[in-house]
C-alpha cells in the first residue's frame, strides 16, 4: 500500500517533469522549424523579380528568331510565349560563354520500359532519353513545328503525293558508320509498322512507296496527300537508326546494346533503377543553321549526362536544392514557393504541358444525350476546378484550344462555349434531358491526384444541378482497364497533350475511351492530315475545334503545366516550349 502510494507520487512528479521535457522538445522543434524552415521573404522577392526579367528575355528570344516552320498555321493571336518562370538559366545560348566539361545529373521519376525506343512506347521517360540520342529527318523548332534535321533539303510534288528527301552527307552514327538512304528507309519502315502515326501514313502510301533512290535520296510516294508528314516525322518516334539495327530487332523493343543514333549524345551505360549515362558524341555532325528549339545547330559542352530515377519527386527537388542533381524533370506543385526562395535554383513552369477534360461516355448511358453533356459542361467553374485539381493557380491556364498557344495549331474557336458557366441554364437542360436519376458513375483514381480532385469538386457542382454522381475510385491500372468498357462508367477525367497537332489527338480514334464517333470529325481530321497550305490547315483546325464545342464529346477544363527545377550553374538551358535537352548549354 505504502509502495503503491510512493509509486503514484513518483509517477506524478516525474510525469510533470516528463511533460516539461516533452514541452521543451516540441518548442525546440517548433523553433527549429521556424528558423530553418521559413524561407526569407527578400529572397522570394528577388526570385520573382528575376523571373520577370527572364520572362522578358525569353520573349525577346522567341521574337528575335524568325519561325520558318513547315506547314505552319500562323502565330496565335492570343498566344503567350512567356513559358517559364526562369532566371539566368534561360539565357540564349549565343549570349553566353560556354565552358566544356562536367556532368549534368538529371532526376527523373522512374525507369523507362525501354531505354531509348520511342517507336516501341510513348512513355515520356523513354521519349526524353530518345530525344538526346537520336534524330529524325525533321525536328521540332521552338514553336513545335517541323524543321529539317537530317535533311539537306526536301521537295513535295505539286500534287502533294511525292516527297523527295535529300539527306545530309557526313552524318555519322554512334558506331562510326555514315548514315545513308538505306538506314532511313529501314527506320521509317519500322516506324510505319510500330507507331500509330506511322501506320496512319503508311496506310496512305502507294505500293512500294518508300524507296532509296540513291545513297543520299529517299522518296516517299503517297496515294493521297499527307501535308502532316513533316509534323509526324519531327516527333521523337520518327528517329533514324542503322539498317543493321532495324534488321536485327524488327518490331521488338530495342535492347540497350542496339542503341545507335546520330544525335549529340551517345548511350554509355544503364544500371536499372540507378542511372542511365549518356556521353558526348565527339563525331557529331552539327547543322550550321541557328539553333531553334530542337532544330538547328547542336553543340554539346558537357562530357556526360546522367539520368537518375528518383521515384519521390520531393526528394528529387531536395536533390536539386543541394546540388546533387542539376535538373529535376518533375517537381511537386506544392514546392513552387520553396524553389522560388532556394538560392541557386530556378523554377521552370514548362509550357505547353497538357490539358484536362471531362470525358463523357457517348457510346451508352446518360451522356449519349447531348443535352446532359451540355448541362454538365456549363455547371462548373473552370478556374476553380483547375485550382482544385492542381493546387497552384500559376501552374494552370484557362484556354479553349486543343493545341496550346505556344504551338502553331492554336485556335480560339468555341471560346464562348468554353467560357459559359451558368448553373441555372444547366439545371434547365438536365430537366429537358433524358436523365432518369440514376447515379452517374465516374471512374477516378487517387494515383494521379488531379483526377480525384477534379472529380470531387465537379461532383458537388453536378449535384447542385440535380444529378447523382458516384465516384468509382481505384488504382490507375484499373481505371485504364475499365475505361475501355463503355458499360461500366459514364464519365472520367482525361489528360491530353497540348503540344500535339490536333489531327493526332487520341480522341480522334472512335475506340478511345469516351468513344466519340463523328463523320464530320473524320472529314476534318483527314483534311488536317492532307493539308500543307498553312491557311487552309488553320481553317480546318478552327472548324474541327468548333465541332468539338458543338458536339461536346468532352469538356476541356484547362491547361496544366509541368513544374521543373534547374540549378543556376547550368548555362544556356532552353526553357521554351520544347521538351528538355542538354545540348547548347554548359556548366559554369
Amino acid at each position: 500500500m505504502i509502495e503503491n502510494t510512493f509509486e503514484s507520487l513518483r509517477r506524478k512528479s516525474f510525469s510533470r517533469r516528463g511533460f516539461l521535457v516533452a514541452g521543451l522538445g516540441v518548442a525546440g522543434a517548433a523553433l527549429l522549424q521556424a528558423c530553418g524552415g521559413q524561407e526569407p521573404l527578400e529572397t522570394a522577392t528577388s526570385a520573382s523579380s528575376q523571373s520577370t526579367t527572364a520572362s522578358q528575355s525569353s520573349t525577346s528570344t522567341s521574337s528575335s528568331s524568325p519561325t520558318t516552320s513547315i506547314g505552319g498555321a500562323g502565330t496565335p493571336s492570343a498566344a503567350s510565349t512567356t513559358a517559364a518562370v526562369a532566371t539566368s538559366a534561360a539565357t540564349k545560348p549565343a549570349d553566353v560563354e560556354h565552358k566544356k566539361g562536367g556532368t549534368i545529373h538529371v532526376a527523373i521519376i522512374g525507369e523507362p520500359p525501354v531505354t531509348a525506343d520511342a517507336m516501341f512506347t510513348t512513355n515520356f521517360i523513354t521519349t526524353d532519353i530518345t530525344r538526346q540520342i537520336y534524330e529524325g529527318l525533321f525536328a521540332q523548332d521552338s514553336k513545335l513545328g517541323p524543321k529539317p534535321m537530317l535533311l539537306d533539303a526536301f521537295e513535295v510534288s505539286d500534287d502533294g503525293l511525292t516527297y523527295t528527301f535529300k539527306l545530309r552527307t557526313g552524318v555519322k552514327f554512334h558506331n562510326g558508320d555514315e548514315m545513308d538512304a538505306d538506314d532511313v528507309v529501314a527506320s521509317l519502315t519500322r516506324w510505319g509498322k510500330m507507331t500509330g502515326r506511322g501506320k496512319q501514313i503508311f496506310a496512305l502510301m502507294a505500293a512500294d512507296g518508300l524507296k532509296a533512290a540513291d545513297p543520299q535520296t529517299v522518296t516517299l510516294a503517297l496515294k493521297q496527300p499527307a501535308g502532316v508528314l513533316p509534323v509526324f516525322l519531327a516527333l521523337y518516334e520518327g528517329f533514324i537508326t542503322t539498317k543493321e539495327v532495324c534488321d536485327a530487332i524488327g518490331t521488338n523493343k530495342m535492347p540497350d546494346d542496339q542503341i545507335v543514333g546520330t544525335g549529340p549524345f551517345k548511350f554509355k551505360e544503364h544500371q536499372v533503377d540507378r542511372y542511365i549515362k549518356l556521353e558526348r558524341f565527339d563525331d557529331y555532325a552539327a547543322r550550321t543553321d541557328e539553333a531553334d528549339g530542337l532544330a538547328g545547330k547542336k553543340v554539346v559542352y558537357i562530357d556526360e549526362l546522367d539520368i537518375i530515377p528518383v521515384p519521390n519527386i520531393s526528394v528529387a527537388t531536395s536533390g536539386v536544392v543541394t546540388g546533387e542533381y542539376q535538373f529535376a524533370r518533375d517537381v511537386d506543385n506544392n514546392q513552387l514557393e520553396v524553389l522560388k526562395s532556394s538560392p541557386g535554383v530556378t523554377a521552370i513552369i514548362k509550357k505547353p504541358g497538357g490539358w484536362i477534360c471531362l470525358n463523357y461516355n457517348k457510346k451508352m448511358g446518360a451522356f449519349t444525350d447531348k443535352k446532359l453533356r451540355q448541362a454538365v459542361s456549363m455547371c462548373f467553374d473552370r478556374e476553380q476546378t483547375l485550382i482544385a485539381a492542381y493546387g497552384v493557380k500559376e501552374l494552370t491556364r484557362m484556354d479553349p484550344s486543343i493545341a496550346a498557344p505556344e504551338t502553331i495549331w492554336y485556335s480560339t474557336a468555341g471560346k464562348e462555349v468554353y467560357e459559359k458557366v451558368d448553373q441555372e441554364a444547366a439545371k434547365k437542360l438536365v430537366q429537358e434531358s433524358s436523365y432518369d436519376g440514376s447515379p452517374i458513375r465516374w471512374l477516378t483514381t487517387k494515383e494521379y491526384l488531379y483526377h480525384y480532385n477534379t472529380a470531387a469538386y465537379v461532383q458537388q457542382q453536378m449535384e447542385a444541378i440535380g444529378l447523382k454522381v458516384e465516384l468509382l475510385v481505384s488504382d490507375w491500372a484499373t481505371v485504364v482497364e475499365r475505361r475501355a468498357k463503355p458499360e461500366v462508367y459514364e464519365m472520367l477525367v482525361a489528360g491530353l497533350s497540348g503540344s500535339w497537332m490536333p489531327a493526332t489527338q487520341l480522341f480522334n480514334d472512335s475506340s478511345w475511351p469516351g468513344f466519340w464517333v463523328s463523320d464530320q470529325r473524320d472529314k476534318l481530321v483527314s483534311q488536317m492530315i492532307e493539308e500543307s497550305d498553312p491557311d487552309k490547315l488553320q481553317k480546318a483546325i478552327d472548324e474541327y475545334q468548333a465541332l468539338i464545342y458543338d458536339e461536346l464529346p468532352f469538356m476541356k477544363i484547362g491547361d496544366d503545366f509541368t513544374l521543373q527545377a534547374i540549378r543556376d550553374e547550368v548555362v544556356g538551358f532552353d526553357t521554351g516550349a520544347n521538351d528538355w535537352y542538354f545540348w547548347n548549354c554548359s556548366l559554369k
Partner: protein, 313 residues
C-alpha cells in the same frame, strides 16, 4: 533437432505452392495490363493487343499458370516483362542493396531497441522510462516516409552532411556505399527499434518480477548479472521471434524506404512490378520472400532451443 529441421524444410514445398498459386490468381484477377503500361497511354488498342499476344498474356489462364509453375519447379522464374531479363537475375541484382540496408537497419534497431527497452524496464516509471517510451511510441506512430523526408531535410538539405538519395554499391568502397545508406538505415531502423524497445520493456517487466530474479538478488549477485544473465536471457526467447520477423521483413526489402531514398533494392523492385503489372517479377519476389520467412522462422525456433534448452521441438 535435425529431424525437426528437415520436417520444417519439407513443409516449405506446400507453402511455396500455395503462395505461388494464390499470388498468381490474385495478380491475374486484378484489373490492369502490363502491355498498356509498357506502350504508354497513347498506344492504340491494337498495339496493346499485339504486345499482349507477344507476351503470351492472351493465352488461357490455366495454360499460363502451368507454364509458369512448370518452369518455377525447375528454378526458372520466367522473364520480367518490363526489364526484359530473367526474374532470378533481376532479384539477384537487388539483393546487395537490400541486404546491406537491412543489416544496417537491423544493427541500429537491435542496439537502440534492446538497450532502451532494458533501460526502461529497469528504471520503470522513471523520467527515463517515460522519455524512452514516448520516443518509442512516436517511432511506432510516425510513418517511415515522414521520418525519411524529415531526415533528408535535416541531414541532406540543411546540414548537407549526406546525400538526399541514391545508391553506390559496396564495390565502390565502404564510405561511398555507407553514406547513401545511413539515412535510410536510420529511417528503417528507428521504426523497428521503437517496436523492439516496447516489446523488450514488456518482456523484461514480465520476467523481472519472477521469483528467480528476486532469488538472484537475494544471493548477492551484482545488478548487471541479474539483468543480463537472469532477466534478459529469459526475456530473450519471445524477443527472438520478434527479431526473427524483423530480419525477414528487413531482408525482403523495405518498400517505402527504398522508394524514398531511390535504393535499387527488392522492395522497390516489388512495388514497381506491382504497379506495372510485371507478373513474373511479383510472383518470383513473393516466392523468395515466403521462403525467407519460413527459413527465418525455422532459424528462430532452433535458436530458441539453444537459448532455452527446456523448449521441445
Amino acid at each position: 533437432m535435425l529431424a525437426y529441421a528437415i520436417r520444417r524444410l519439407l513443409v516449405l514445398i506446400p507453402i511455396m505452392w500455395i503462395v505461388a498459386t494464390a499470388v498468381f490468381l490474385l495478380l491475374h484477377s486484378a484489373p490492369g495490363d502490363p502491355a498498356a503500361f509498357m506502350l504508354g497511354s497513347d498506344a492504340s488498342a491494337d498495339q496493346q493487343a499485339e504486345l499482349r499476344h507477344e507476351l503470351g498474356l492472351d493465352r488461357p489462364l490455366y495454360e499460363q499458370y502451368f507454364d509458369w509453375l512448370g518452369k518455377a519447379v525447375r528454378g526458372d522464374l520466367g522473364e520480367s516483362i518490363f526489364l526484359g531479363k530473367p526474374v532470378t537475375s533481376a532479384l539477384a541484382e537487388r539483393a546487395e542493396p537490400t541486404i546491406l540496408l537491412g543489416s544496417l537497419a537491423l544493427i541500429i534497431s537491435l542496439i537502440i531497441g534492446l538497450v532502451t527497452g532494458v533501460l526502461s524496464a529497469i528504471r520503470r516509471a522513471s523520467w527515463l522510462d517515460l522519455s524512452l517510451m514516448s520516443g518509442a511510441m512516436a517511432g511506432v506512430a510516425v510513418p517511415t516516409f515522414v521520418t525519411g523526408l524529415l531526415l533528408i531535410y535535416i541531414f541532406a538539405v540543411k546540414l548537407r552532411w549526406l546525400p538526399v538519395a541514391g545508391y553506390e554499391p559496396i564495390s565502390a568502397g565502404l564510405w561511398p556505399c555507407l553514406r547513401y545508406l545511413i539515412l535510410p538505415a536510420i529511417t528503417l531502423g528507428a521504426f523497428e527499434a521503437a517496436f523492439l524497445s516496447r516489446m523488450t520493456r514488456s518482456m523484461m517487466l514480465e520476467v523481472i518480477g519472477q521469483d528467480y530474479v528476486r532469488t538472484a538478488r537475494a544471493k548477492g549477485l551484482v545488478e548487471r548479472d541479474v539483468i543480463i544473465r537472469h532477466t534478459l536471457r529469459n526475456a530473450f526467447v519471445p524477443l527472438l521471434t520478434i527479431i526473427g520477423l524483423m530480419v525477414a521483413a528487413l531482408m525482403s526489402g523495405a518498400v517505402v524506404t527504398e522508394q524514398i531514398f531511390a535504393i535499387p533494392g527488392m522492395g522497390r523492385l516489388l512495388i514497381q512490378a506491382v504497379v506495372r503489372r510485371d507478373f513474373p517479377v511479383v510472383q518470383g519476389a513473393v516466392l523468395i520472400i515466403a521462403i525467407l520467412y519460413v527459413l527465418t522462422n525455422l532459424l528462430v525456433d532452433l535458436l530458441a532451443r539453444v537459448v532455452d534448452p527446456r523448449i521441445e521441438l
